[in-house]
């Protein structure tokens, strides 16, 4: 469960960082080739955008999928009694450090400009605490929802995030999806849920009204945090993403520090900050930090919809890899769900608005 919880936090988390170096490098090569190709009438800028979008999306898919494999691995290896809030705090700290590292390199290579300067106006910074605050609130709610649904039921209800992200993406970012893409998005939610079905899944239908309300509120909080992060990151497209991430993660650290005090103060005070840490815990923190960076990249260069597709496909990839690694048996429901998700991915691309 612990691993799962960090995972949740990170999967639907705003994040950012230092891979930026490589992206920066690419955009340089591109700048010069742009000029050459513009004379040929080739939309190379567009092509580079697509390539960058593809790279960050693949990175997110692979990282998310290996995240889940680490979870399975850790479960096999036995239970680790570390405190989740300290791990989350370290993830935020690592991301923050990586963003700062990336920035120092950029300053060295390009000099300090208006777009990569760390200091910003109050007006710009004041929005950055909001996503971190929303996640903190969502994670606190998570402790209460288990009074109404069991853990596997909660995993199923979490697919409501897909719908809430789509709806809030439409309402808040005012971006349009075509009808075919909406159809694909509904299918994505159905397919992911179908793939997770097991013999006890029907119990989720007996969830009481307060349980449903909490699940919907949590889905809305998570969707809103994602969409809001995208809005912040895209508001000033020329702003270096490391600056934006730095601020996001600073507040991420602050709010996770609050979570440590609220949830794990006694454990940390008595057993120490790093109690229960192991090699696998370190690997997971590293993986979460990198996934976080990838999510931020996807927010900057693609959008929340791509992020949702990416993490959903990752879930299926994980199951397939687990067949080879852990001798998992795939259920018929998994095959059906995966097919529905695959068709959904196709529809998202076939249904693009022209």
């Amino acid at each position: 469960m612990e691993y799962r919880k960090i995972k949740d936090e990170l999967q639907d988390d705003h994040v950012v960082a230092s891979d930026i170096e490589s992206v920066k490098g690419k955009s340089h090569t591109v700048a010069s080739s742009n000029i050459a190709m513009a004379t040929l009438g080739v939309g190379s800028g567009e092509r580079v955008n697509w390539k960058r979008k593809g790279v960050v999306t693949c990175a997110l898919t692979i990282l998310t999928s290996s995240q889940a494999i680490l979870i399975v691995w850790s479960k096999r290896a036995g239970k680790y009694e570390y405190s989740v809030t300290t791990a989350n705090f370290l993830v935020e700290t690592l991301k923050c450090a990586l963003s700062f590292l990336a920035l120092t390199r950029i300053w060295k290579n390009e000099g300090v400009t208006d777009d990569n300067r760390l200091s910003t106006t109050y007006d710009e910074v004041k929005v950055f605490p909001i996503p971190a605050a929303l996640y903190l609130f969502k994670n606190l709610l998570q402790y209460y929802i288990f009074a109404y649904v069991d853990a596997p039921g909660y995993q199923i209800l979490k697919n409501l995030n897909i719908i809430s992200t789509g709806v809030l993406y439409r309402i808040i970012l005012k971006k349009k999806l075509s009808e075919i893409q909406w159809a694909g998005f509904i299918l994505l939610c159905c397919g992911c849920t179908t793939a997770q079905l097991n013999s006890n899944s029907d119990r989720v239908l007996q969830t009481s009204l307060p349980g449903w309300i909490m699940a919907i509120v949590m889905a809305l909080l998570s969707g809103f945090a994602g969409v809001y992060t995208e809005a912040i990151i895209k508001k000033r497209p020329s702003r270096n993403i490391n600056v934006q991430n730095f601020w996001l993660y600073v507040f991420g650290m602050a709010f996770n520090a609050i979570a440590i005090v609220i949830q794990d103060f006694d454990a940390v005070a008595n057993k120490g900050f790093f109690h229960g840490y192991s090699f696998i815990t370190v690997l997971m923190i590293l993986n979460h930090a990198l996934s976080g960076i990838a999510v931020s990249m996807v927010m900057k260069y693609a959008d929340n919809i791509v992020k949702v597709y990416s993490t959903s496909v990752a879930m299926l990839l994980t199951a397939v890899v687990s067949v080879f690694l852990f001798n998992f048996h795939l259920s018929l429901a998994f095959f059906l769900g995966s097919t529905v998700v695959s068709v959904s991915v196709y529809l998202h691309s076939a249904g693009k608005l022209r």
Copy 2:
């Protein structure tokens, strides 16, 4: 099980008959209004086609759905030990009689024309035994497949019919579906299967190779019979459908007579033709005959794809009605499958080739 078997036979059966009267009546009113509207440039012919298509499709959906409800009702009422082959023979006989009755009325009203004359050339008649022969062969195979899969597993494998119908529709009738419609068709198969999932469904994945081969052969036979019937019925569009049905059903009777001899000779010889018949058996025979007529209408005025959608939606309708009639509990898998089927219906219509 018996009821189920008749149902299978009829659901994927070619059929036809006497509702034709009402359709004929409609096309008359239409003929005169056509002339009036042609001057206004309104595509009223097209509109009438749509209306006719809609009416026969709704009729098929409602009849198929009430078929399944009769099955549940009969199961609740206890087991009926009648022989399925005699019931199938009576269904064919009833359809044949209804087609003939419809024809005599048409002859009286319109006189005998080239299109409604019962006698046809050998070349035209020689194709009519083929669908009936295919169904006989498929039904005989059905006795052997149960050596490899259990009955619930067979219900799941039967969804392969959806795919085989789509593929053969494309290959034999050379009609095109758009990519979006193909996506919808794959989803229809996944959605129907998902809606039927239960805790034992995974056993179907352990089906041995001979079991899979038989299931695929049966799906191909059933799909081929449907597509072949459509080809026969549509080959001469002006030919009155009652004539076409009359010949289909005459051979249907003949092949079902063979089935009685092969499968139920002893039972019929010892206990009589009507042994085990009850009020509900009569209702089911009536329902099957009318559904058969509706299927034939759908083949004439729409196509196999519409037929498959219609019977799939009927399956879902049945479940919903059963909640009220029999206090059925719907599973989460059912909700997910129904949503996928609904999206599939939308995609079939949204993806129409222009």
